[in-house]
Symmetry: C2
Subunit: 188 residues, 2 copies
DNA sequence: TACTAAACCAAACGCCTGTTAGCAAATTTG
DNA sequence: CAAATTTGCTAACAGGCGTTTGGTTTAGTA
């Protein structure tokens, strides 16, 4: 792993636990055992790190979802697959997921606009699945926007408590969440 | 409304949109049309504001939940009531809810510890409801911790998109979320 | 060994931060 | 009206911020 990647990784974990604005370059340097100025041999700026983390995660979400998108299965099954893909990315690197989900707002233009659009596209793809399920009658709900919002909400809190050494694997979690959302507490 | 309350309110909306660390006292003063130093005739410190917002919201959540706690209804119905209470608090003041949910980590000890404990108690009360539902066989699920985590996740994203002028009332939202979580997408 | 390139340090830069002090209006109260 | 309190301003403080600069050490290569 290159020094630059190491910086990104340590910064990611600090950004997640303290927040982007509350993490200083001197904190970051201390964690790496070097001086703050030395960081600038490897990176362009503080926001430079944030940009790389955010867009790398965005790419991973898109890549995982692309494998689901064009499968020829019923909407409910496709939603299960999408949830599993999302959970897989989320749990593979919880600190980066946390930064992606909570610190993106510290991006400045034009990165911020680009980020917004990517997220909209991702959500729109999910809404497509729900709309298809409504059309076939498989889903009884009518408001696909609300459903996707709630779906993502319940998934995106995962990085707050997920621990790789816990007893549930990412696939276990995905199955649990799929059952809960599709069948509900009563018919789980 | 006293000047102090006005400061808290404006600060709350800034803390929510920019984050606590990224909001300066000079920003806040500018928004109020006064100088930064003048703020200190009314408040003790920047974190002083954050503390007041966070603990006031915590009190509101507890107060709303207390009215549900001891009602003699089946667990599933009690959960519905708890969800409705939670949503009501969340939508009554979305900026304050946002600060409560995302900025509490900038509290320092001993406030931080006290905050953690209050949240734990709140979550534990919710787990009690789910456990009761499992015991009566009303809920088919086994992991009450996971359920409550997911439940709160889906509720606590609300402040990000809820607009009072929207077409759904807080009660509509609560009913939608209750149906989704209890019955699922398929049996909604 | 001699050369190169990457990694790092020490010091400083200009600016921004929360907060304080002393004083002056303005408003409220008796 | 007079006293007291609230509210605000100006100016400054001490320290922290991201970043730059110029020079030095370290590691790799021929």
């Amino acid at each position: 792993m290159s020094r630059k990647e190491q910086i990104d990784q340590v910064a990611t974990s600090l950004f997640k636990s303290r927040g982007f604005a509350a993490t200083t370059m001197r904190d970051l340097a201390l964690e790496l055992g070097i001086e703050a100025g030395s960081l600038y041999s490897h990176i362009k700026s503080k926001e430079d790190i944030l940009q790389r983390v955010c867009f790398k995660m965005a790419d991973e979400f898109n890549a995982a979802f692309d494998e689901v998108k064009n499968q020829d299965v019923p909407p409910s099954e496709k939603l299960r697959l999408a949830i599993a893909a999302h959970v897989r990315v989320l749990t593979k690197n919880p600190p980066a997921a946390g930064v992606f989900l909570n610190e993106w707002r510290h991006l400045s233009e034009p990165s911020l606009g680009k980020f917004h659009e990517m997220r909209f596209q991702y959500e729109e793809s999910l809404r497509d699945i729900v709309r298809a399920g409504i059309a076939t009658g498989e889903f009884k709900v009518t408001d696909e926007k609300f459903v996707v919002l709630t779906l993502l909400s319940s998934l995106n809190w995962l990085h707050m408590w997920y621990k790789p050494e816990g007893k549930m694997s990412p696939d276990d979690i995905a199955e649990f969440l799929s059952n809960l959302l599709l069948n509900g507490l009563k018919n789980f």
